[in-house]
Symmetry: C2
Subunit: 331 residues, 2 copies
Amino acid sequence: MKTIRASLIGFGAVGQGVAKVLLAKKDYLQSIGIDLRIVAIADSRTAVIDSEGVNLAAVLDSKKKKGVVGSEKISGTDIIKTIDHELVIETTPTNIDDGGVGLTNMLAAFEKGMDVVTSNKGPLALKYGELIETANRSGSKLKFEATVGGAMPVINLACDTLAGNKILSMEGIFNGTCNYILSRMVEEHASYEQMLAEAQELGIAEADPIYDVEGIDTASKLVIVANVIFGMNASYRDVTVTGITRITPEALLLANRDGYAIKLIGEVNDGKINVAPKLVPLDNPLAVGGTLNVFSVQTDISGPITITGRGAGSIETASAILSDIISLYKN
Amino acid sequence: MKTIRASLIGFGAVGQGVAKVLLAKKDYLQSIGIDLRIVAIADSRTAVIDSEGVNLAAVLDSKKKKGVVGSEKISGTDIIKTIDHELVIETTPTNIDDGGVGLTNMLAAFEKGMDVVTSNKGPLALKYGELIETANRSGSKLKFEATVGGAMPVINLACDTLAGNKILSMEGIFNGTCNYILSRMVEEHASYEQMLAEAQELGIAEADPIYDVEGIDTASKLVIVANVIFGMNASYRDVTVTGITRITPEALLLANRDGYAIKLIGEVNDGKINVAPKLVPLDNPLAVGGTLNVFSVQTDISGPITITGRGAGSIETASAILSDIISLYKN
């Protein structure tokens, strides 16, 4: 049995999802030789620390009832810097302007030779090269399946499962909010504004939806996948982006009548990274509905391979973090 | 660098695909520390043996020009029994009645403590439990991604990439011939017989199509996946099977008008293994067209995950064999 001491930095929806998944999978992890002990949890205001292992159920309860994880006044960054452990699970919110506290946390972890598993897109979409280089220099590992496609194992599929294949190009739908709005516009013959309002009511779209509907979220995820699969060192600012706000129900219905859907497709081809609405044949694997995400690669010997799944959700994103932890520490 | 001596038993379409892929990926394999040396190749009539490594290009050329791989008169089984090597790549044709020579070869390999990577469905669909037990007893490894779904990494996805998930149920399209016929019947408003004839002309269906269109091929693949994912010990004879021969174009068009496709779906749920035509919503990830295959699992923490790809083709099937070899011997 290998004991791994970990901190969980960030305790919003994803962080809480991680705590729930770790509670549910404790026995499973031990059955494959991993004794994962969470020695510290921090949210944006408080922290809880226990070198013998934090009581995850109690922390979830405290967060729900009191809005905070504990009573300690130490920041996540200082936990990384001062408490002995091997793994940082970084689930603070994405900051796409400068990487924010997530970037600080990852670099602090690597400085101490710790591994990082993260769901935080910002640092990866902005500073991929620097992060990988810093991690390599200190012998740390960085895993980030949860930054792209929620439960869909996009990165592990392309890098491990399809080992031996050369990936020639890739495309996909990486934003469930846009996919929901476009799918519902066809079903209801309704306008973008109407279906955005419905998505907001259902909690599928944010009150300020710009990040999703203008394609910025898609661009951030796409650049992360492009960097890891094609060894690029792009930032999300290198992506050409068109969102979905100008698509009309008439265009969608016309396309539908001819056997096509219109989808917000992110695409990497020939070194170019591009996000834009595109026509997709209805029986093509990319034409999935609802909030689903989909990711497709063209390979040299396996041909096209496509994977579809839930692109968001706290438990689904936590599942990607769990699979990264397993791949790091399983013998 | 790890040197792995391997035999390639069976040199039909898949065996030749393996030779081509190994030629193309020799440098890649060496870059990840695997020096794979094919020390013997057998087809049904002849063999070629070279302990320093067979010249794959020359053997492909001989097979093409003379119809045989070489001049030695030793059988594949005797190669396994008498020549020193570590890995048997078993690509002889599927025998679904008693497992045929493929079963003999695999058991002979395990008796000598050798690993087996195979595309041969018969032995797996009939004797899964016995094979795994025999392999375990002698410390041998058995990998069989290529038996199911061609290029689609079905087994590695469910067992490795989704590690940490409990698979609750699974369903999919495992036969490209049936999918082609059903897809074309809708497109052309044509009968089963007409589209079967077209598929036969294009080489997508065999002259005797029973194995495909009656669902036997789907049942064989399904039972292999069910055994490995759910730890069952089923044989393909335990599967309830209905084929596609009685589906009319009227039924397909009616379904299509209501937003559904009819697909030959293999399904494992609650310990029951079932193959039958089913209605699938057009925007569901299972509704893929042409000769594509698709495989979908319901998981406890990742929700539904679906993968789509080419279910057949010699290079595509060889790609699955390559990924199995890499997963066996990569550090």
